[in-house]
Symmetry: C2
Subunit: 394 residues, 2 copies
């Protein structure tokens, strides 16, 4: 049967890239395509202890419905530990638990966007955010970036032209897909502009705690005195994505809107996952665990960059990320990375072509490489293979 | 800061009832308000075994990202066990895993509804469905019910008047809030009408497997030869709501639309919860567990109805559900159940006033009673208290 669907479904198509990326899951392919953490670092033994403890101590509550806002002790620990780690003073009443930060992105679209509203974002930006927002049929205004992130003069011009834009979406730390970090000065200026135009900043920060070197730059939320920033956090990169736990940290008035949306969307996040995450942080030290992750990812970043230097042709540019999961590769103009992926797959190596990260299209001459998910021998072999593909086809 | 929000947020308000119901959570109140399963029946010891097994055997995959569609073995077991239990032939490719059936309701709104589109539903209908659909700003056409569910002649009139209605939403078995069941003859006729108007039926079936007596009436989906029915299932009432696991069973073409929506909404449901549910059904027998639940709920239903007979004034009507969690009480015209709740709370007993279950308002003279969540002594005492309130105020 062909039913009469909503207009938004015309904007939400299964992407060709997604179909292509299914091929990257074949076991003989070395894939730098996903955004997956390293599974060998998951705290499996600790989770055995924790899951037994939660079921033993509070089994009935862990398997029952719970409040829409989230499990209060988890909200408290997030405020006291995770938000403090990025310099933010918050209480549990500023925290709503979501199913990863992806759900925070969807809810942001729902709270703010009517059809044809303006979303301001980095160019390029996170594919999952673009797709989440597209369900609400906005228009995207892309702000160019340099090595210090979004160029503020360009943001200012965009706001002058679109003073009723609904929000600025930014991933300030080790951005997905570029690995770039927004400088402190620009954070301050972005906040000033947000205040001038009364426009919220959606600060999506999945990677901020994964800094390999240099001083932490304060989160935008930590500089926010006026409640302009809606902060999205997640345990997917610092703990385990399989639990599907993230959070929104915001002023109570606007958080209440998100809570109403959460109620209609799925009532609440998993009671048992929330209690397990809270118990983990009570019994173990998440910061120590994050240090282990950073150590491994830093080595993988170093190795990938070294290999790129050795194996890639000289006319290919790449970013040097100080943290996070990704580096961003720029090919000469006129090269289509999506076509290149088809060739690379034949040589059993994969990446994500960059075009999908630009909401308004264009820019086919980029691709994203992930360094967190592959062990060192695979990084060496994979970048060799990719270097060969590049040398032969560029 | 006051931001510029989407138009839909004007339609999504925190309900006064919800605020009132927060009071029902105080420990000295006997609450028949929630829709909660009995926590003393949760398989806690079995879940300890299962969660250890999943982490031990497949810990890395259980804590990692997984496919948007869901964990394939779980999709298979749902097709082979749960859908078969309601008479449906399906394969895993017809199943999408969601965060409870609430998420299936939200996605249904997203797939089908533009502003001012028509949703056809029972009058009254499930509050959570009404709220989920309201995020997409439709108009509701309510179809009156009698003891056999939605009155088909009224449905036919509504479809004649609104031939472009987007879907028919129904809870055919032990409906929330009325406890009523749609007769077999009406299911057949509803399908005929759906085919005539090319309109999907959203069959929401959280309670169908909780039948206390009488023969199972085939699910509408089991009678569907044309792919007209989109079936929403859940483990929240037959297993544990705290895992937040439900599913959508539909023809592949329309299910693909839901999968695209799921990708943007939260990427996937919890990897670990999905593997735990699958392992539970492999190691234990969920049907045996459901039989235990039915036995307890049947006794509670019997007791509540007996007490109502004894304690309520004679001019008060109530339904006699053959399964599920709820009975529906009708007060004389002119009585406002929301006002009555305020009095009842003083006497430490609670219910949900019926008005919120009517999407277009009105009908204040009803309330919903839950019998699954309270032990027998509390049912006796609670209905006594409620009888006193009714006698003194009606």
């Amino acid at each position: 049967m062909e039913f009469r669907l909503s207009e938004r479904m015309n904007h939400l198509k299964a992407s060709e890239i997604r179909e292509l990326l299914k091929l990257t899951e074949e076991p003989d392919i070395i894939s730098f395509a996903g955004g997956l953490p390293a599974p060998e670092l998951f705290p499996i033994e600790e989770m055995k202890v924790i899951s037994h403890k939660v079921l033993n101590d509070e089994g009935k509550a862990a398997l029952q419905y719970g409040p829409t806002e989230g499990y209060t002790p988890l909200r408290k620990i997030i405020a006291e530990q995770r938000m403090k780690a990025v310099g933010v003073n918050a209480t549990y009443e500023n925290i709503l638990i979501t199913n990863g930060s992806q759900q925070g992105l969807d809810f942001t679209g729902r709270v703010f966007l009517d059809k044809d509203d303006i979303v301001i974002c980095e160019s390029p930006s996170y594919l999952g955010a673009i797709n989440a927002f597209k369900a609400y049929m906005p228009k995207f205004v892309e702000i160019p970036m340099d090595d210090n992130g979004m160029i503020i003069e360009e943001l200012e011009k965009a706001l002058e032209k679109h003073p009723n834009a609904k929000f600025i979406y930014t991933i300030p730390d080790f951005q997905n897909p570029t690995g770039k970090t927004l400088s402190f000065e620009r954070r301050v200026k972005m906040l000033e502009l947000a205040e001038k135009y009364n426009i919220p900043i959606i600060e999506d920060n999945p990677y901020g705690e994964l800094r390999f070197e240099g001083d932490m730059i304060p989160s935008i939320k930590s500089l926010d005195k006026k409640g302009l920033v809606i902060y999205l956090g997640t345990f997917s990169k610092t703990f385990c994505p399989g639990l599907r736990l993230g959070w929104i940290c915001a002023d109570k008035d606007i958080l209440n809107k998100y809570i109403i949306v959460k109620q209609g969307a799925d009532l609440q996040s998993s009671s048992i996952s929330q209690r397990e995450a809270a118990a983990f942080m009570q019994v173990y030290n998440l910061d120590e665990h994050i240090n282990k992750i950073k150590e491994v990812y830093r080595r993988r970043r170093d190795l990938m960059i070294d290999m790129i230097k050795k194996e890639f042709p000289e006319n290919i540019k790449y970013t040097y990320p100080n943290g996070g999961l990704f580096t961003w590769v720029t090919l000469p103009e006129g090269i289509d990375a999506a076509e290149l992926l088809k060739i690379a797959l034949r040589d059993k190596v994969a990446f994500v072509p960059g075009g999908s990260f630009f909401p308004n299209g264009g820019h086919p001459n980029h691709f994203r490489l992930n360094f967190s998910n592959m062990p060192e021998d695979k990084i060496i072999e994979g970048i060799k293979r990719l270097g060969k593909v590049l040398k032969e086809n560029i």
